[in-house]
């Protein structure tokens, strides 16, 4: 009996050690394969700086778009019950699991020059292929659904009785949303935005198909890695290390804000709703 228990314990610890090592090794190798000084030297390489600027610009724009349009959509889907609601939610979730290459093709045939809206767009003087606007659309299409999905859950976690209480206290829908719903869903929305940001920064497949990989225009950090990795591994390593640090920072700040929120505003009871009895 005792030896069997020991065996099970050993197996669990050994499996955990192998799994952890498997996950950590590539990350550690990225940071240690070259001496830090050579990584620092490559930071000034124009391929790196151009890609960094393109990535930051397009991610910021896509993120603004996602939050501005995604938040109202998530709130409506979380708070309204209507026929076809679950179908709409499924449509929103679809791009999350879609292969990025499929997303890229979809974007081309929808918004590209010869696509569904291409004619309308060019009539308006808008051109969304192989430029920054195309990168922004690709990132928003792939990262937006992640934001909306997590934001729906954040809004659904707000006790509907608090919303009802706000209304009976004389607050209209707008005041209720900004004073009650938004603060209570805040930590969840922050998490949603952080996940979308991380996903958007790493976007590769849809971007390379829809926007191409033009240095200083559409070449984001992941595209730059792909572009240089067989000619200049140092640059690829530098960008990758940069990535590890950036995404780790996003995750860490996410953990810290949710920790700060939960210590500050724990709802006493979120389970019970305004029950009709």
């Amino acid at each position: 009996m005792a030896s069997r228990r020991l065996l099970v314990a050993v197996f669990f610890f050994a499996a955990s050690a192998v799994a952890l090592a498997f996950l950590i090794l590539p990350l550690a190798a990225l940071l240690t394969d070259r001496p830090p000084s050579s990584l620092f030297d490559q930071l000034s390489n124009p391929v790196v700086t151009d890609a960094l600027v393109v990535s930051l610009e397009t991610s910021a724009a896509a993120q603004a778009l996602i939050i501005l349009l995604g938040t109202p959509l998530a709130y409506l889907l979380a708070s309204r019950r209507f026929r076809g609601r679950s179908a709409v939610v499924t449509l929103v979730e679809l791009p999350i699991v879609l292969p990025p290459a499929v997303a890229g093709i979809g974007l081309i045939v929808a918004f590209g020059r010869l696509g569904l809206l291409g004619g309308a767009f060019s009539a308006l003087g808008i051109d969304v292929s192989f430029n920054k606007a195309a990168v922004i659309l690709a990132v928003a299409f792939v990262a937006g659904p992640l934001y909306v999905r997590v934001a729906i859950a954040a809004f659904e976690a707000v006790d509907p009785r608090l919303v009802a209480a706000s209304r009976t206290l004389g607050a209209g829908p707008a005041r209720t949303f900004f004073r009650v719903v938004l603060p209570l869903a805040g930590s969840g929305l922050t998490a949603a935005a952080a996940l979308a940001l991380a996903r958007g920064l790493g976007e590769f497949g849809a971007t390379i198909m829809f926007a191409g990989s033009l240095q200083g225009v559409t070449q984001t950090l992941p595209l730059a890695i792909y572009y240089v990795f067989d000619t200049n591994l140092d640059v690829a390593l530098t960008i990758s290390a940069l990535f590890v640090i950036m995404t780790a920072a996003v995750l860490m700040s996410l953990k810290l804000t949710s920790l700060w929120h939960s210590s500050r505003s724990a709802s006493p009871s979120r389970s019970a709703i305004f029950a009709s009895s």
Binding site: D159, R161, L162, A164, A165, S166, R167, T168, L169, G170, A171, G172, R179, V180, P183, L184, R264, S265, A266, S267, P268, S269, A272, F274, A275, S276, S277
Partner: protein, 343 residues
């Protein structure tokens, strides 16, 4: 005082909720859970929409389905105290109260003795304190009507008693038409001047606690207000007490003049217990029962005796030396034997 008039119909899952109610003063709506009590409050507050109906405070119409009037909750002057209070967890006590109205916030905090807690968060408060914050918040918007949904159900026994007497004192002082929803009859009558019994979406009876006990409209109201229920058949006799033959065959007399199949309501405090004595005839108007259980509640003893619950002073029970298993006589004054015609 203003008058709130409510009349509506709303189909719920298991029954149709239909209600007509004129509200001035403090009224409790009492009934088993699932009777539609909370829905009544939701309809008045505008949180639920009835199929048809009208809600008006004096000549201020909040809902009139015939005239297509349906004001949103924020435009009805309603102060609603939610079950478990629904305080905003991300706001301080003062912010919670001021959310309803800045002007009266400090006055209300002082009035309800929660000024010292103004900067506390709801999760730092006791149940009784939360209840006061919720009441202050509801009043801060200067409502014309006060609604309380199960204000005592989330409190522990000790706090419950003090909050109950606090509400009984405060609510008449506030001077608004007030509707309290509760599943506990004792809570209802200790807070409100009148109580309505709501069962399966219908208001069975609305009256003072005295009226509900002395003239229960039906067997359910009688048992809900705490009566023992027996069944039998009654015969009126000119110039005499009505005679009832219980289903068990024993005869009883009643001052109520009713004929036919009846429910017989007898309140526990009207039951007189005595020992059987072979040398004297049994007391009039009595039945033979076996004591099955005894529970002490405060200065009284609750005795389960045959089909009856009796309640008597601890000393009286001690003097009779009652023990479970004993066979005793339970007798009642004819005026305590209340007959309700069964249809």
């Amino acid at each position: 005082m203003a008058l709130l008039s409510v009349g509506f119909a709303l189909p719920l899952r298991h029954f149709r909720l239909e209600l007509e109610l004129e509200l001035d003063g403090v009224v409790a709506l009492v009934g088993p859970s699932g009777a539609g009590k909370t829905t009544v409050l939701s309809v008045i507050a505008g949180l639920a929409r009835p199929e048809s109906g009208r809600v008006a405070l004096d000549d201020e119409v909040w809902l009139d389905t015939d005239r297509r009037i349906d004001l949103p909750p924020d435009r009805r002057r309603v102060g609603l105290v939610f079950q478990e209070y629904a305080l905003f967890p991300h706001m301080s006590v003062r912010q919670n109260v001021a959310y309803g109205g800045q002007r009266r916030a400090d006055e209300l905090l002082a009035r309800f003795g929660i000024a010292a807690l103004a900067d506390a968060r709801p999760d730092q408060l006791s149940g009784g304190e939360r209840q006061r914050v919720a009441l202050a918040r509801a009043l801060a918007r200067d409502p014309g009507v006060l609604l309380l949904d199960e204000p005592l159900s989330s409190l522990d026994g000790h706090t419950k008693a003090s909050v109950r007497s606090e509400l009984a004192r405060l609510l008449p002082e506030i001077g608004l038409p007030t509707l309290i929803v509760t599943h506990d009859y004792e809570d209802a009558v200790s807070i409100a001047a009148r109580a309505g019994v709501l069962v399966d979406g219908r208001l069975r009876q609305l009256g003072s606690p005295d009226e509900l006990v002395t003239r229960p409209a039906d067997a359910f109201v009688a048992s809900f207000t705490g009566a023992n229920l027996l069944r039998g058949r009654a015969h009126t006799r000119a110039g005499a007490l009505a005679e009832v033959v219980l289903d068990s065959g024993e005869p009883l007399q009643s001052t109520d003049q009713v004929q036919g199949d009846v429910d017989i309501a007898i309140y526990p405090w009207d039951v007189i217990l005595s020992h059987e004595d072979a040398s004297t005839p049994p007391p009039a108007n009595s039945i033979r029962v076996e004591i099955t259980a005894m529970t002490r509640v405060g200065g009284r003893v609750r005795v389960a005796a045959g089909p009856l619950n009796a309640e008597l002073a601890t000393e009286a029970a001690a003097a009779l030396a009652l023990v479970p298993g004993a066979i005793v006589r339970a007798s009642f004054a004819p005026a305590s034997v209340r007959l309700i015609r069964r249809d």
